[in-house]
Amino acid sequence: MDALTLFGIFVLLPLVGALVSYFGKKYAPIIAVIFTGISGIFLYLWYGNFGSYTIDIGVKLNLTFDITTWFFMLMMNTVIFSSLLFSVSSKLKRAGGFATLMLLGFAGANGVLLARDFLSLYLFWELMSWSIYLLVLRTSGEYARRYLLFGVLSAYLLIMGIGIIYYYTGSFLYADALSGAIPHAIWPWILTFLILGFGIKMAIVPFHVWAPYAYSSEQPFVAFLSGGLSKLGAFGIFMSMYSIAGISLLQSFGTFRGVSLMGYPFALLGAATAFIGTILAIFQDDIRKLLAYSSIGQLGYVMIGLGLGTPLAIGGAMFHAFNHAFFKSLLFLGAGAVIYRTGKYKISEMGGLGYRMPFTFMFVLFAIFALAGIPLTSGFISKWMLYEAAISRKFVIVAPLMLIASVGAYLYSYRILYGVFLGQLKDEDKNVKEAPGPMLAAMFILMVPLVIFSIVPGWILGWINKILVENGIGKLNYTTFSYSSAIGGANMAVFWIAFILLLIFAMLMFMAKKARVVDQYDNYLAGEAPPSVALHAAHNYYKPLRDTWAPLLKHSIDRAYEKFSKFFAGGFYEIKRIYTGNPQDYAAYLGIAFLAFLLVGWWLLW
């Protein structure tokens, strides 16, 4: 394998696919699925076939295919494959454009993952970023503008970081950054710019306000955006902190109980993100917004792990990014299936769909297990790693915020389950059918790893361990079925055997007597017999909690930005008033400007 093959399969092939599928009309998603499938097959075949290739085309560029890249590509490829498979039957408008942009984003993402030099990183980052912009634009110009603002901010921050590095080293290669040319005092600036630039893509508080809008676009795309592309932020932060700068440089800025002072503030930021995202998610009634805030909160966990920087914490962050890629895209696709069948977005307007769409319900239920960290899915193990990483180093601010955010996740998880799938079925939804085959297949693909890696965590921990060892961070403590930290551990085989045995016991007790099935209206209402009142108690579900939080919810970062922008818009309006349309005024401006220049020039020359 050489650089061209690598580049061809993972970047050029999706680009070709983008071109072909543009003309594919309604078959475009199928064509796109095939193209991503091909690059997926190569990804599986080339595991272990790693290498690093430097090309000199005037500037030195580097493409590297290593375990880190492979791990992130695995998420990216599976998520886009399922998202496109889902979109096959979701009857999108202008499906050709959709598939093209998705594949462009995919090519950009793969490029970012392969790049080990800042030039190609930046180019592919922009390719990815702009295709997201266009995909959001398909739904709403307003949402796209909000995304664009933060996308551009992210690009500026990246450029500043890259620019400082290039100014000192004169090379774009990651490997050259540590050559010693950059003064020690400059590194915090570089790292802050890069981390914030990448963090915007992860929707870290206070840069999260684009996410709830962008995540309200078409569901197959959002599944890829939230599940796949947002992980590029995590990848970027991981690379800039632990590959470009390296752990010994980070430690040289001083440490707080073994954690670099360069990383700890970002861990705090991540904890704040996890908490704020979760609290805001609890109060959302629009299922897309709820999932968006949940996504913000979950990526906060990833940020915590990356900030803490111990082997267990980074391993947890990687694992959580992996889990999040799967369960969040599964949730977005599940929401997409429900929206496709009912045409509704509001949780309170749905209800009882679990009885009509049992498979969708089961898949979403597993995703919720992973989201809430129930040990039946691998979602638990990543959270466990992050907790133990924080607790074993005695971090008393990060750990409680993480733990309470995880309890908050139960609240919004149940809001989805109850509001959408349980409760009473509305009359107008009586004839809703199960989601079409491709959608179910897409969701099934995403569910499988969550369960498998819960039973056999050793497999995925093996890959993560390789990433940690390769970047010189340290290693994890694990066997095929169990994992442990300095202060504890768990064995999933024992857990699963005990769970299954006890569930069988409960089932035996339960099966002893038959039960008769009754109608949903045949229930106890204390003697009242309302003829046609909506009895689905999902409207404003957490009202008491919302009331207690109301004084705090008044302060919103979202609105703060809006005020900020209004202030500037007002200021610009004032500036606009100098264009009076009177030639004498303009002549006066000219005179004043001439005088000012004269004075300044005179003063400068003196």
Partner: protein, 321 residues
Amino acid sequence: MVTDWLIHAGLVALYLFLAMVIGLLFMGIARKITARIQNRVGPPIYQNFLDLGKLLAKKTNIKHNWIFDFAPLFGLGGVLLILAYLPMGGYIMLSGQGDLILLLYILAIPALGFALGSGASGNPNAGVGVMRALTLMLSYEMPFLIVILSLMIFYNTASLSVLLQKQMNYLWGIAALPISALAADIALQGMMAEKPFDIPIAPHEIASGPLVEFGGKYLGLLMLYSAGSIVVETSLFVDLFLGGGIVLNPTVYGTLAYFVNYLVWLALIFVVWMIAIFVNAVFPRFRIEQAFKFYWKWPTVIAIAGLVQAYVMSVFLGVVP
């Protein structure tokens, strides 16, 4: 090897069975004591066994749909799973194979199954009840998680079995971290959903909330679930703060130690349960937002004070239990 495993599994089954019996008995005792405090006669203390027998023997059972079945299945299976991970009387069962964080998350399995089943009943009271239960959970978990964190920081372990060992060798949690123990007991009242925090089941407001649609064997199995939960919650407090009732070292005294420790553990969980019941008998009910404000105010402040104590002792004073 295989016989060892079988003996172990048999012992675990015995402990689980005993826990269920204790739970039902405790429910009966609670009914009797509450009645005596309120100047009533009250049912006999074996009443809950009769109730259970009656419910499981019922001929007519009604369900709404297949998701409805999740409640009894996950409720009973899940609570047994928690009990298996919780040391009882110093017998650690599975808790060497999973630490406190795993236990915290297993605690959610029966609750989630129950919530799914009651949500599937389609009764609005059930929906409101689960909403209240989850809000209450968010409320009491705030102090409770901080308390658990203080324990884990102070004893420098996340494993329950190691925690018991260290409490046996050093000091019981309640002696080392009394402030945290106070916060934990206040949180426990909410976790057990006893007055003033019986908001989720509030029988006079929302017709027993999540339980409203269950009858027959469904209610019977859920009764077993709540019996198990009583043992889980009281035993959790005893394991965290009262050394799990270990007074004799099992490595020295062998089987006798297990027997004595079990009796001590039983006495201790009875005391913890009685505190909850006495408070329950004399208090009226909070509204849910009051409960939330209460828990995020005083118990949280107490818990943070406990956390500060644990942090200072372990980090600055270098106390190593």
